[in-house]
Assembly symmetry: D2
Homo-oligomer: 385 residues x 4
């Protein structure tokens, strides 16, 4: 069977000493310190067989994530941009949907033929963090499409406990095809949901919300903020194509970054400031550092974007505002996936406009090249849609 495989060379940077375990497993916490010359290509990959608690899913659609792009792109020295947990070669892809076509002997919660999506975070359920319900901070985390085979392929095997059914979306839309496309958006929507409604404990309907960056996660935040009753949703984004999608999703205002942004933003809130600020640009030094005057008292800053290096924050200004910063990663637990599916099934969460275009699995390299410009919101691969 066919899958999109990412290869890279194991060449630890000067000064980076891989641990023995890393050398043995080729599984590293800081990908950008080790992997060089990444390349993707369609390849013949093993046909997965389900473990006792696993199902095999025939992939219908799989979106391309910003993280996928960061694994594919390199810096001036040829090192992969993505700074996180990785093992290569690996089939990538983790924002997906499909049909269950095979299931292990102990599987009880899904059936053959079910339309499903699945969590990318493969939390162990046994470590200290998992036992606290903090699955996103699992001590033994594997990540589908990063350290274990992913979903830009014809089939993928996952534990039933990561699977969530899409039947309610199909019922409302009356279209399996549409349900499967929306289903492939559940993962990025869940990443935003985790940051804005789970990590942030201050959301109240009527809040004013600022979203910095209108890539997929930023757009997901816009869509969710509107569905959850934010009374003002403002997106800031340099790419015109993405600004257009933010507008289509219903953002009240969509702005370009500018020097006097702080002042303009404050004006849009009628001087009251934003209650929620979502950093989804991966550039907190640009998006958070200058943002002082337009925070509401008790403001919550939800930091989702990934970035290397240190972010200088004016904590004194935050103190005057009784503000807080929530650092967010992942989408597991807390009813996040099923809540997003319910919102899509009820029609209250409008996410369809995020999808710009579908490509076949074989054309994945074309889609990756196109996304380099960061004008599109979401490009999606269709497999058996």
């Amino acid at each position: 069977v066919i899958g999109i495989e990412l290869h890279a060379d194991w060449e630890p940077r000067n000064g980076y000493v891989a641990t023995g375990a890393e050398q043995l497993s080729r599984r590293v916490n800081k990908g950008s310190m080790v992997w060089r010359n990444p390349q993707i290509r369609p390849a013949v990959v093993p046909d997965p067989a389900p473990g006792e608690h696993q199902v095999v899913i025939e992939i219908a659609a799989c979106g391309i994530c910003g993280s996928d792009m960061h694994m594919y792109e390199c810096d001036a020295e040829g090192y992969m941009l993505y700074p996180g947990l990785t093992r290569f070669p690996n089939v990538i892809g983790h924002e997906f949907s499909g049909r269950v076509v095979e299931s292990g002997s102990a599987v009880r919660s899904v059936r053959l033929g079910d339309l499903v999506t699945a969590e990318e975070m493969q939390w162990c359920g046994r470590c200290r963090s998992c036992r606290r319900g903090l699955f996103n901070a699992c001590d033994n985390l594997e990540e589908l499409g990063f350290t274990v085979p992913g979903a830009m392929a014809q089939y993928v095997a996952v534990d039933e406990k990561y699977c969530w059914k899409l039947a309610d979306i199909a019922e409302r839309t009356g279209s399996e095809r549409e349900a499967l496309q929306l289903g492939a958006l559940v993962e990025p929507l869940s990443v935003a949901y985790n940051a804005v409604f789970v990590r942030n404990q201050h959301h109240q309907p009527g809040n004013y919300c600022l979203v910095q960056g209108a890539g997929p996660i930023g757009l997901a935040s816009v869509a969710l903020a509107l569905a959850a009753g934010c009374a003002l949703v403002v997106a800031v984004e340099p790419a015109v194509g993405r600004r257009r999608v933010a507008k289509e999703l219903g953002a009240h205002y969509v702005l370009e970054p500018a020097d006097d942004l702080d002042e303009n933003l404050l004006h849009l809130t009628r001087g009251q400031g934003f209650d929620i600020v979502v950093e989804a640009a991966g550039a907190p030094t640009l998006t958070l550092t200058p943002l002082e005057r337009c925070l509401s008292p008790n403001a919550a800053i939800c930091h989702i974007g990934r970035s290397n290096g240190l972010t200088p924050l004016n904590l004194e200004a935050y103190q005057r505002r009784s503000a807080q910063v929530y650092a967010a990663q992942g989408h597991a637990g807390n009813g996040i996936f099923p809540s997003v599916i319910r919102l899509l099934a009820s029609g209250q969460l409008i996410a369809g406009p995020m999808i710009n275009e579908l490509f076949s699995l074989e054309d994945a390299p074309i889609a990756f090249r196109r996304l380099r410009s960061r004008q599109d919101a979401k490009l999606m691969l269709h497999v058996n849609l």
Copy 2:
């Protein structure tokens, strides 16, 4: 100037001993123990003058609340139904909007001509509860239209700190008249908001919500639950007129009370149960006691309806569900009024269909008579609309 005054006879029930302070002030905590033969009538009432921090508001519209009805209605022995804090004779009415026409010397936050609504809870700001920010539990509470002159009148005087501007609603709707009508709904919407989003600390977008009773507070809960991203909103209500309004507001299902309701409700949630249950019927013995099987794990029961007597609850069933009961009263503090106004101004909160008909101030008695049947959602008095 003209106002709707409520008179009643001071005749403490057998066994009820009024305190000396109650006898002196005619201000009692349990109205239904003392007041007999209540009657309302248009009357000439004093023209209010503003205190240092007060404004005088020329009333535009004033809704009739369930509490107003309970002050007007009596039991078989002629005692007022309303069980709470009251002093009579008094001008009633507390769900209102109007224009600021006069202001005290120290007033800074509103100006002449501003369209405003105001909180009914007149919290002192100095007691132990107020200093904790728990204004709804103020130790020295006065209530506009209950213990101090209310808004079914041409003018009312209130402290600026209870006032909230309606300009943003007027700007969006392009109609001062519409803004003032919606403005008179802010108080009941805020009572629901307090219960569902402030007292209840478990709301997440995607929740399933059941609303027991579709009177004004139940309908406000329906409207807010939809605006806040509840993915399933079910209302239960015996009166056909109110069921119609619940449907117009967007409730996914509107049911009549029935014996096997528990089973049907569970089915609507696909076996998952409700995350939020709003008791807005004032009949918890009928609405909560039988409600065991259709609670989601971690369910929140928001009790707003007022009722005398004891409510038998199956706490063992609640334990199995890790459920909780939040007893809610009032609407003050926590950014509630401004959040409701923001939601109305953004167009995300649809409340207009709650208003069935407008009556002149003089026709208040006709409106009160009509509301005895509890078929209407909200009847509203227009004064200078």
Copy 3:
């Protein structure tokens, strides 16, 4: 090997129709509807072998819980008092500690020789509730000592994910024996912790706390409230023996139930009321129903005691106080077990005085008989202590 086995007759009450699954598995949700003539006796029981993720624990000590007593005691018709999930015959006992003596092939988190205790709630980790982190509401719950073999025995097998190490307690006390005795208290302490600090989201240091009932869970609540900075801890209990232990644990006041209790309690709080009320008497009709005047604004009622039937609550009074009722069951997740162990290890949580006397495994029937009078706090069986 030897264990304390509980036998009972399968005789569903008139009107109770056991489901097919219940008949097949003899596993029923409502024990008191089905089981008659319960009897306990030391018996030869199977020697457990560890599954892949399991360890076998050699029991050191095992406390007798109120639930154990309720399985042992019957009503006038001979039916078991315990109303919950059960399967018989079964080895009972679930408040225990011991040493790991054997471990499955996949076990990573504990080692042979480790001193451990374990959770009684055997949550599946895969159901909808578990995936939300709500392990106490697991859809597929098994309970050690209720539906699967328990710890009043020489050995018990449990999944490593339920095990927590006691090494830090042993290090502080300098005594393995003391650590193992305290370790057998971790479960009841955790049940109280769950109710007062996890389910209840309003604890702040300086709170005033009332504990109704000074059985083991009530005493655990007293000990924890003191460790967590409650500035006033009052216990109410009819049995003189238990009142004595409450006093030893440090409760500021220990009272007998009385008619005018409400008034006296309010006085102890200097008129301010209690912020936290723990129902640990299993008699909410007696302990909660009359409790209106001594609630602080925003008071939290933590209901842990189990009781059949309906509890009449004055919700109107709760509304005036903005009070809430948290129904609590279990002890799983949320870092509860490790937090209790840390508190015992730091010396801040004083729980030792709860243990009245140790009995050998063979003398379990004597201990059960003695506990019928409910004068003792905790009787504990020593096995290989």
Copy 4:
């Protein structure tokens, strides 16, 4: 009457343009941009008369705060170090206790002779923030001892709503003198309480807590963390005198800052990391920036220390830990003052060892000079103790 007055020259720094309002009122938001050559001296100051809702307090004791020191100390160019809201000349001092000796006509909550302390944050109770209960973010804040006359004097006038009685402490200690000394610690204890238990919403008994900096606020954090059931409390502090007090208060470990601190701290937590980190050193670049590895999953960083400039934070590391930063300022609202008083009155909060020495009012300059070395924890002025 006598008071300690602080004088400084109005010399805005190059580039700082004072607003018209600032020039008129001499009340500036950023003191360190404007005030030069600060000096303190005992002076004859006006005898305060109480307003309608005010009381006059005869001062018993007044502590010297880090902010007082920062108003007194200057940088190389002679500018005051304190960066916040100030107006000079002014009587300074805001951590105090005393006896009510005069009261305004409307005062109800305190009486002549009452022992009291009072909040320094003079929140207006009418602005948008105050109406949300966010008194610490009051839009019209005045600060006692910063913008209005303070408590290093014989008398001070304050609104009754800022006053809290010390009678319960006096009753427990049996000494008015001791109650008044502890009463003068309530303000700094409340600043710590606000950060650790109100702003931070993740405290659970059993948490591990790290306190960076053992000045008065750090020491207050140590004392509170212990009283609230933190199972491990570690303080880090360069000054030997302050480390000694941290130890006396009961901190489990007290360390000097060092290069490999991160590693050592992680070891003290047995590899589990700290759940709560309090920044009370005012040097977040030194104390937070390097602190990555010793954060527990879901860790809360409570930032109280004041510092100019930007603090570089590794948000990527915080994401991996699901960590959050709470920026904290003030002590008003939320039952903070009364909770601290209750904890002192119950004997659970041990704060007395924080007081190193008492000085007379006239010797204030000596005490200020001595505190320059930052070896003492709390120096306190006695007035009429």
